[in-house]
């Protein structure tokens, strides 16, 4: 590998002059500078990030902590889409992305150690167990971090607006004439809490009564559980006219159950999903769902982490809420009368 000293030799200048030229410093003559750069290029010079990082303590590398307990991991479209736009935003700002694991890499055991080890300038955290002591250690450390969909007090977070999400769904259903709205929600997380509260609150707002048996616990991305909950709802003496699911994936299991029981979705009973995965527009009946703006979330996460890294003094903790929108499909029937 050709290095700075090789170029210096070839150009008959000192290595510091080469360094300056390569870094676009202005305290040397245009001629020298451009001559050096030309020759460096000609010699096929590629800088060595590790030497640079060692010296400057800046890696231009952003760690990403993406762990999914359910195992679907990156293949969960919501998160892979966030990752994709996060990556694009980071790269556009001159940063690379490295995954942070808690596997043993270089004697490191924890997320924090790992991130430190690699010299990450900052870390974006999503889709993990936010009660994990390792995650807390990382967030409380001196490394700038941003969390997605979870707020650590006093720290910056990007939030998909679940409160607005459930509000908009319920409001829409009310507008469509629904008064018996069931909600199958995911496991108990901060997100689930927000959705539930918003659901109850909005129902109250519109004078919609919510019997206890209309609220069922499922789990995100475990269609079997939502299927089972659907069966239970259908078997009620006074079944709901509409069911809200924890995610689009789960809503498909709901459709299956509903059809199995001889009913037709969008006619005999309505359903609403959550997420807005791409496929939701292509399945029949086309799914009515709340689309989370995952692209915007990832982009904002990238923007904010770069901001925190580059202006540590002036950037303060904040929660950024990213709204989504309701995608009308064919799974919600307009009820003429109650």
């Amino acid at each position: 590998m050709v290095k700075i000293s090789d170029i210096a030799k070839r150009c008959n200048v000192s290595i510091s002059t080469v360094s300056k030229a390569l870094n676009g410093r202005t305290d040397l003559s245009r001629q020298t500078s451009s001559r050096i750069r030309e020759i460096a290029h000609e010699m096929g010079y590629i800088p060595n990030a590790n030497a640079r990082i060692l010296k400057t303590n800046r890696s231009y590398n952003i760690g990403v902590l993406f762990v999914d307990k359910t195992g679907s991991g990156l293949s969960h479209e919501y998160f892979s889409s966030i990752l994709d736009s996060l990556k694009n935003e980071a790269e556009a700002n001159g940063y690379d992305i490295t995954f942070i694991s808690n596997q043993v890499v270089g004697n490191c055991q924890t997320y924090y150690e790992h991130a430190k080890y690699r010299g990450c300038d900052g870390v974006v955290i999503a889709s993990v167990d936010f009660h994990d002591p390792q995650v807390i250690e990382l967030v409380e450390s001196n490394i700038p971090t941003i969390t997605i969909d979870y707020v650590f007090d006093g720290h910056t977070a990007i939030m998909s607006d679940n409160i607005v999400g459930l509000h908009d769904i319920v409001e829409y259903l009310h507008r469509m004439g629904h008064r018996k709205i069931a909600f199958i929600h995911g496991e108990n997380t901060a997100i689930t809490q927000k959705r539930l509260t918003s659901y109850y609150k909005t129902c109250e707002e519109y004078g919609i009564d919510v019997p206890d048996e209309y609220v069922k616990e499922g789990r995100y991305h475990v269609p079997q559980l939502s299927g089972k909950a659907t069966r239970e709802l259908l078997a009620l003496d006074n079944p709901p006219t509409c069911i809200i699911y924890p995610d689009d994936y789960s809503s498909l299991a709901g459709i299956t159950e509903i059809e199995r029981s001889g009913l037709t979705v969008g006619k005999d009973i309505s359903i609403v999903g959550y997420d807005g995965i791409k496929i939701s527009r292509f399945i029949r009946p086309e799914l009515t769902t709340y689309v989370q703006d995952s692209e915007q979330i990832g982009k904002m996460a990238g923007k904010k982490i770069v901001e925190m890294i580059e202006n540590p003094k002036t950037s303060f903790a904040q929660q950024v809420s990213i709204k989504g929108h309701l995608q009308e499909g064919k799974t919600v029937k307009a009820l003429i009368s109650e």
Copy 2:
């Protein structure tokens, strides 16, 4: 940050002794070694990867080149699933994953420069334009690389077995009594070529006639085009009894078109998808599709790249073919007679 010299001072030994203890060398007494390690831990020592890399020229970091021209990028389930298992395998072997871009990071312009800059021990390449000169430069460089679903002569590649895939699909359809099998294929890539050839060859093998108008070009993950092709196929004087799609996503557009024309999928006409995305089991009718073993592909890619990195002498170029399997759904009708 506490460093090796701090530990040395505290332990009253030399830095090299500390280094040896921390790296588990055996040429020092057990006692010294464990004492040093204890104190290092107590002091909260975290090694500095960059210093280590600078010295050893080994980063324990694998670059990943994942670019999708269609823009769906990581959110394409086939690839995000590969990435996920690749990541797991790499981490299990003590390697981290860093994305390689061709954005300007540290004055680097090309994929190769980028990978060199970061000191990647190896690079896994997938889902890119394999004719891109930058990709070729990278593959032909001295960095160990592995490609997924594309073979560069003399280089190692992990291949989803598209030949077997199309063979198995056609064979299955033949067994189910189909003799009029149309194929909507993706844009012209090496994969498409393989699928097409295998399709023609297997049809020939079973004495199935393939009129030119039964073969249509669509594009991977562009449902609109497959929808259009479906319409054209349905409008033929002698329409096919079954249509094979380039991917599951596209097959959904096919279903939509078929139903729009008043036919019923799995009854009036049969269809087969490709990929085996998770959702394929949950849509109705359940999709008959060829499941690519993306998990195995990612895992194998991780295994092989580590092998190449760690045994550069003894590992030779090879193509590893990963078979998938046909997932029977409800979209293919068994035809009693022709």
